[in-house]
């Protein structure tokens, strides 16, 4: 039983990594949101499985929270934003996609290498996946660097948050509840603020292209 669940978690982890790569490769903002939703769903599933294995009821709560926030609310919000702002395409990335993917692979190797000695120490069933969580964080980081639209940056940010949650689940059995609640609240407020900002940016700059918001600099 334990073994099967372990494999299931590994599977979800792999899916997570795959989705991260897919996001890195994706140009269309709409698809990006969908991928993000999928990532959220995977996270929910993984959390639930860990909850089942370890009989930790607060993991269910965490899973529910994630479901509500990251699978339902945030994608819905994002969709609304891009519809209203009419940003469908992330026209071009700052670095071309094949290069980005190659960089991504290097990062994954780096992350695995980094996490390997540590994950041995974890008591969690999902310990092997710490490396994947780390890789996900780094990949999201990379995505934020390479994207030129504000929306895709936000999605990168959120995806990073997802991977962090996954790390919390995989390395331990989730953070204490009060912390998880706090984090969720922060994320929610944060995304609301970002949403408002995107409208205001659009209003001020006529664009959500971050290359237009680089007036503040040293000259």
């Amino acid at each position: 039983m334990q073994g099967m669940f372990g494999q299931l978690i590994n599977l979800f982890a792999s899916v997570l990594l795959l989705l991260s790569f897919a996001m890195l490769a994706q140009r269309r903002v709409v698809t990006l949101i969908d991928l993000f939703m999928l990532q959220g769903a995977t996270l929910v599933a993984a959390t639930t499985v860990v909850g089942v294995v370890t009989h930790q009821p607060h993991l269910y709560l965490s899973a529910a929270l994630t479901l509500l926030l990251k699978v339902a609310l945030i994608p819905w919000l994002l969709h609304r934003v891009i519809r209203q702002l009419n940003v469908r395409w992330d026209v071009e990335t700052l670095i071309n996609i094949p290069t980005t993917l190659l960089l991504g692979i290097v990062l994954v190797i780096f992350a695995f290498n980094l996490a390997l000695p540590i994950s041995q120490l974890s008591s969690s069933v999902a310990r092997g996946t710490l490396g994947i969580a780390l890789a996900g964080v780094l990949l999201s980081f990379l995505m934020m660097i390479t994207r030129s639209k504000a929306v895709s940056q936000v999605i990168g940010f959120l995806s990073m948050e997802n991977c962090l949650f996954f790390a919390a689940t995989s390395a331990t059995y989730g953070m204490p509840l009060v912390v998880e609640l706090g984090i969720a609240l922060d994320v929610l407020v944060g995304i609301l603020i970002l949403g408002v900002f995107m409208f205001q940016l659009r209003e001020r700059f006529d664009s959500l292209d971050i290359r237009h918001i680089e007036k503040l600099k040293e000259d």
Binding site: I118, F157, M175
Partner: protein, 487 residues
Amino acid sequence: MYALYATLGIPLFGALLQAAVGHRSFAREINVALSAATFLAACVLTERIVTQGPQFAWDQAFFIDPLNVFLVTLTAFVGLTTAIFSRPYMAIEAEHGKMTPPRLRLYHSMYQLFNCTMLLALTTNNMGLLWVAMEAATLATVLLVSVYRTAASLEAAWKYFILCGVGIAQALFGTVLLFMAAEKVLGAEGGALLWTNLDAVKTQLDPAIITLAFAFLFIGYGTKVGLVPLHNWLPDAHAEGPTPVSAVLSGLLLNVALYALLRCKVLTDGALQTPLASRLMMGFGLLSVLTAAFFLLRQKDVKRMFAYSSIEHMGLMTFAFGVGGPVANFAGLLHMTVHSLIKSAIFFAVGHATQRAGTQIMADIRGLMKASPLLGWSMMLGALAILGMPPFGVFASEFLILTTAMREQPWATPFLLLALGVAFGAVFMRVQEMVFGSTNLPAGGTAHTAPAHLPVYAHLGLGLMLGIYIPPYLDAWYRQAAAMMGG
């Protein structure tokens, strides 16, 4: 521990209250009253801690020891003086049409919320909650920075949000790793994220995990501290937000971030028995001091310049804590105190000057001394104080840091000498031109009444006092806190 609940509750209540009435004309006075109440509560709390020693509250969820109680008092105090400063300031901003009633409401509400989150971050015993509070503080300040809704302020706020958000996400990862290490010793239950518990078992924590955790925590909280090269949000956010916000950002938020970093360092030092944390802090501290000094040279915007000065000073503190040992730690804490006092005072003065001149561009602000001697002197003395001129307190801490570094880390001193020299040259060149000489300010510009300068001079006075006399109880705090940080 009602004092603690009051300290945290008043600003929280204030945030809600101001969300309702913050746009009304009396909201500014309410803001002052709330901050004063918070400060009073913090004083009572301090008195408790000083007389009765470190204490828990709410079943270990909060823990107050000398290290954080002094920061709590400082935060509440600067919060209060900034509220006092912002009262006439915001009135003038409203007059100029830069603040509309909805913006005022947002400003007042977020100001209280910001205070609340910082106090929470300081007092909580839970490393996770510390992270949550830091993030919340970021959110509150993002709104504060963008309150003018200008293109520049939006840009600054956006960068601030993204950079700090990403940065602090690394801290979350670090916290997760910390939790993972702690869990093995303390078990999943029993508050494995409580700092007191972690501190108790820190020698048993697994070094491999803690090493990695500290790397992430360092990057995360280091971003908020404004360490180079993670600092890029800081000058933008300081320059484009309202001046009271710049004052609390520099004076308080950076301190709280450094406080979080210090807590992590204590654990890491205990777990590793190697100087990893110290080396990182020294290296990045020094890099920050040096880089910021050179950035200072090219500034045209007065608030931006002092923002870089904040980076420089945070770098110096980080370096001091990295050097470690009772003297350097003491010096670091002292520097934290005086830096927030003096830097916020400078921002107050800058606020007056920019309102008087109607611009933040230094070339267009001339002859403040002629236009208003009180303003000119506050600007001049503030700048001299922050540049490390005695008898102001910044000098006292720089004295201790440099003399200790000379024997402990002599390799660093040429860099420090260079950086402090360049910084002095850069800042003083501008400030002198702003303060001295014939004025180019419009004759009928905004005139501030003498009481408006009170917060500036109060801060400068305190900074001066700390340079030549440190009260025994403050000394005792510093010593206990420095001892806690070990070396």
